[in-house]
Symmetry: C2
């Protein structure tokens, strides 16, 4: 136990000690404070150099993840029942707060991993929501991310959270805050991306049938597609490999399985300026 004595003003104090507080095993308890006029001279020049923006407001920064999944038939979204205030017990997107020593992508990855156990997931930043009263708890700005996972690749053991559930897009419950708005924007982005980038494969198992791929696109776009036109188009892109293997679970005849050839795709992009368009 150490006793420190200081004449620094609060701003300076924070800047100097906050890192120790965050990264070391010890924190500090304040034993004595002196209130002084705020416009009093800063005591040190070091102060100026350490902190330029001292008079600005700070806010909490959250990340919220819109997690899309595909169960070989329908596009789904993963929601949780909040087990903390405010709005405890209501359905919500999976979220968390940005920490000092990470960037937003890392925060989103961490939050998703903490709640699903999954890593190496496709994620993309979407939009930042900042309505003054969006969170009744405290002024919070939230950055939304969307994530794509194959529902079947991860079995819910209920280990991570007992209150998480997949919902069909149109039967999702009412959500807290502005989370429904976030989902709408995420769907729009997903639609655009699916047409111009090979991200659909993130939602499918490694091996998939043409029918599954078409179902996926129909779910994403919310409309039926013509089977032959779809297959012709996909084939013309020339980034799938047809396996000598059939999925016999759905039809008597069986359907050939395909895999997405990511290396071939990337080679085409860099060498031929190829761009994925469906």
């Amino acid at each position: 136990m150490t006793l420190l004595l200081s004449q620094l003003d609060l701003g300076t104090f924070l800047r100097i000690f906050i890192k120790r507080y965050l990264f070391k095993k010890f924190s500090f308890r304040i034993l004595a404070l002196m209130e002084v006029p705020k416009n009093a001279e800063l005591t040190t020049d070091i102060d100026r150099q350490l902190n330029f923006y001292q008079k600005e407001d700070q806010v909490l920064l959250a990340v919220d993840c819109i997690i899309f999944g595909f169960d070989k038939t329908n596009l789904k979204i993963l929601l949780i029942k909040r087990n903390f205030e405010p709005e405890k017990g209501k359905w919500s997107l999976i979220g968390g707060f940005l920490k000092k020593n990470e960037n937003l992508d890392q925060a989103a990855t961490r939050v998703l991993n903490a709640l699903t156990g999954l890593s190496d997931i496709y994620m993309e930043q979407l939009y930042t929501y900042s309505k003054v009263d969006r969170d009744p708890g405290q002024r919070t700005i939230s950055v939304s991310y969307f994530a794509l996972i194959d529902v079947d690749s991860y079995q819910f053991d209920g280990i991570q959270i007992e209150s998480a559930r997949w919902f069909d897009l149109n039967e999702a419950p009412n959500l807290i805050f502005d989370h429904e708005e976030m989902i709408q924007k995420a769907i729009a982005r997903l639609r655009r991306r699916a047409m111009t980038m090979p991200i659909g494969f993130e939602l499918l198992p490694e091996k998939f049938t043409m029918r599954q791929l078409q179902n996926l696109y129909e779910s994403i776009l919310g409309k039926k597609l013509d089977k032959r036109n779809f297959i012709n188009k996909v084939n013309s892109l020339d980034v799938l490999v047809k396996l000598n293997e059939k999925d016999m679970t759905v039809s008597r005849k069986g359907a050939y399985l395909f895999v997405f050839d990511k290396e071939k795709y990337e080679k085409k992009v860099t060498e031929d300026g190829f761009s994925f368009k469906l």
Copy 2:
């Protein structure tokens, strides 16, 4: 001068006193500190009730505006020379900090207005930048916005800032922080938007010639377009009105002026599901 005595740990202390520090006339000087193990119990319940997310880190939130302009020939970007630390004297985007009582759109509008005097400007949120060390001054997260204005509609009186300047896109100076990355992303967004939304007109004066419109699109896309194909396409959209008035400043023959019929456009969108595509 008041003397306070407290047993709060640092986290609690911050939450309770930071508002006074920020909003009132007084600040505090710390006279004595005690270092204690970090996992020590919180002292008050009041604490919990005051703030749901009390253990979370707060950050500064900035907005940075990528302001595009068009001088009837070239696409330009507005930059300022910073007159404050850090990086004083270097070129930078126009930016500022989010305040407690406004949302991000309002902050962006305020910042742009403060520095150019312009209001009613097309703005759109782009992306949020959060690298831990992006701003050496302090942990700052920045939300970028892009704005579109007609260079000629606003004469720089040098009133607002003497150090602001329009730069051609490819002759912009080195910028601070991650501002160049922001600009690259903004250009990409502008290209996409220009092809699918009638935002190009924000960059032109109310009356413009076909050639100016084509020059604008060529600047945005960074490539030459075929004159006849361009005009045919624009005409097929049927949202411009040809005036009985010519711009005689460029050619001997003179070129007819056009205006964008916003009402017609919006009517087509809502009534016929029309979508602008160039």
